[in-house]
């Protein structure tokens, strides 16, 4: 016991892990209590696995057990739209349990482990780029474990794993270990297609690294110098090329599986028939209430998130803001559906929210955090209730 206390006092990482574990435990207990309240209030007797895994979680559960399948004659919504990394890891974990463990619990365990490591990495990243002790940044794991929409990170969804790879990417990039960053991006792109967009974040990181002189951020001379230097750095080029590797591997699989490498994109037609002008048209239709009320909310949510990313640019989180903006623009080319999930799943928004919270007066910060807590309670109830606002 004394030895443990000594390690706790001297080892910052050990201390951080324990604190993160405590926050995670509290957040999950909170979810559990709300489940009990939900069941009592609604007069139901639904299990944890049932309540936590709504909508696409059922598809992931099916894929973990059965892999990719062809569309039925009566249902063209093939599961090729879902990228394989998370499914493969869950399948492997299930195999380790000799197939005994329930698939939902396997998925939830994988997601929870991923978000825990992601939160740890996020804190280490902040401590690296902003300085100070790791414990100064515990607000970030609090948001990731218990903030609004954080239930996605506890269910059978790819979000937690995706956040993990993005966090690892930015941590490696901040340490200027670009090969590792490229590798993390490759895994991210095998988890969700927008992982490919980390290539832009990597280029921004490299640009800032190779052209830093305290002068103007972007000049033609700097861009020219950057390109020339890059061509002389094969390790950098290789790291950049590595970013979309995961997505291309999946596309290769699709070629041999169904004959179409773009199947994950082409299959979307089975979900949606309404088409809008990309981004501007989508946001206009959504924000002005011309679609459904939930999409009006999501439209304004996206506007708010763009403001957060703008603030991140102001606070010099260039690569993160670039990634956040592009990764939100991509879904907005077709619809606002699921953009709340995509936003929390892009990880970088937590840095922006953290900076905003740090920048406001303590009373306002407390008020915002209380609002987040109530929002999370409300959202959790909606989640347990399979509300389509959270699709």
């Amino acid at each position: 016991m004394e030895r443990l206390a000594k390690i706790y006092r001297e080892n910052e990482n050990f201390r951080l892990i324990l604190k993160l574990f405590f926050i995670l435990l509290m957040s999950r207990l909170f979810m559990l209590v709300l489940m009990v309240i939900y069941n009592v209030y609604m007069g139901t007797d639904r299990s944890i696995a049932f309540l936590m895994n709504q909508w696409d979680a059922k598809r992931y559960q099916f894929m973990i057990d059965n892999g990719y399948t062809f569309p039925l004659d009566t249902d063209p919504q093939a599961n090729w739209a879902f990228f394989p990394m998370y499914v493969m890891v869950c399948r492997f974990v299930k195999m380790l349990t000799f197939g005994v463990m329930d698939t939902y619990w396997v998925g939830m365990t994988v997601s929870t482990v991923c978000i825990f490591i992601a939160a740890f990495t996020a804190v280490k990243y902040m401590s690296l780029v902003r300085g100070g002790r790791s414990e100064d940044y515990l607000l970030i794991p609090l948001l990731m474990f218990a903030g609004p929409y954080s239930f996605y990170f506890g269910s059978v969804y790819t979000e937690a794993m995706f956040v993990l790879f993005i966090a690892l990417f930015f941590y490696a990039a901040a340490k200027k270990k670009y090969l590792w960053a490229g590798l993390a991006a490759a895994f991210a792109s095998a988890t969700r297609i927008v992982g490919c967009l980390l290539v832009f974040a990597l280029i921004v990181e490299m640009y800032l690294d190779l052209t830093q002189d305290g002068g103007k951020l972007i000049t033609w001379a700097k861009i020219k110098s950057f390109i020339v230097q890059m061509l002389k750095l094969p390790e950098h080029i290789f790291a950049v090329m590595l970013c979309p590797f995961g997505a291309f591997c999946y596309m290769t699989f699709l070629r041999f599986f169904c004959g179409d490498v773009w199947a994950y994109k082409n299959v979307q037609i089975a979900w949606r028939e309404d088409t809008y002008f990309p981004v501007v048209g989508v946001l206009w239709k959504a924000c002005t209430g011309q679609i459904e009320p939930r999409y009006t909310y999501m439209g304004w949510f996206c506007i708010g998130i763009f403001i957060v990313y703008g603030y991140m640019l102001y606070r010099r989180y260039y690569s993160m803001a670039v990634f956040g903006i592009i990764s939100l623009l991509v879904p907005l080319t077709s619809h606002v559906m699921s953009t709340c999930r995509f936003t929390v799943g892009s990880f970088v928004v937590y840095m922006g929210v953290y900076e905003i919270l740090k920048g406001v007066r303590p009373k306002i910060r407390t008020a915002i955090l209380i609002f987040f807590a109530f929002a999370q309670i409300w959202l959790l109830f909606m989640w347990y209730n399979s509300d389509c606002w959270l699709m």
């Binding site: 062809f70 569309p71 039925l72 004659d73 009566t74 249902d75 063209p76 094969p234 390790e235 080029i237 290789f238 090329m241 590595l242 979309p244 590797f245 291309f248 596309m251 290769t252 070629r255 169904c258 004959g259 179409d260 490498v261 773009w262 199947a263 082409n266 299959v267 037609i269 089975a270």
Partner: protein
């Protein structure tokens, strides 16, 4: 120094290999190896319903009904449901398929060559003062000017080819209930 050079060369080579791999995948993307139904539904969006793999194939003489797979109560239908509709049909198809605009399409891939094929359809609703011209593979085969059952001579239709029945509605809304190539 030598080792550093070889590491550099390895990274250049790795980058080139990755670039070649990506180009190969993109080339595959340009040339998908898919069946007709997949191409028409997922790629060109010519089909409004997903018929299933190989399900555009058609045995001449089979009457199909232009309705949904399930009725309003969610029960499976026991009739041959037409799943070969292209663009131009309204979504609500419980009582037959109504055109949504000027052009509406059906697609057939015959299992065997039909020497003297004809197209037969039953129209249950017809609203408007105009008419509906019916084309098979861009050749006009007849006109619909009201409700009833219509039969139009087509001529020879080859097997394994995608044949298009094209309805051109001139200020008319019509509801197609059944369709067959005889």
């Amino acid at each position: 120094m030598m080792k550093k050079k070889s590491v550099k060369a390895a990274f250049y080579a790795g980058a080139v290999i990755l670039a070649c791999f990506y180009l190969l995948v993109l080339w595959w993307g340009k040339n998908p190896d898919v069946g007709l139904e997949y191409r028409m539904y997922y790629l060109t969006h010519e089909l409004s319903d997903w018929p299933g793999y190989g399900k555009l194939s058609y045995e001449p003489g089979t009457t199909e009904y232009c309705t949904t797979l399930k009725d309003k109560d969610g029960n499976e239908r026991s009739i041959n449901v037409c799943r070969r509709k292209g663009k131009g049909w309204k979504e609500d198809q419980y009582e037959g398929s109504t055109n949504s605009g000027k052009d509406a399409y059906l697609y057939y891939v015959l299992n065997r060559t039909a020497e003297n094929a004809s197209y037969q359809c039953e129209v249950t609703e017809f609203a408007g003062n105009g008419r509906v011209e019916v084309y098979c593979n861009d050749r006009k085969i007849g006109e619909i000017q009201g409700t009833g059952t219509f039969t139009f001579e087509i001529g020879k239709l080859e097997e394994k080819e995608c044949d298009t029945i094209h309805f051109v509605a001139d200020n008319v809304t019509f509801c197609l209930w059944s369709s067959a190539i005889l």
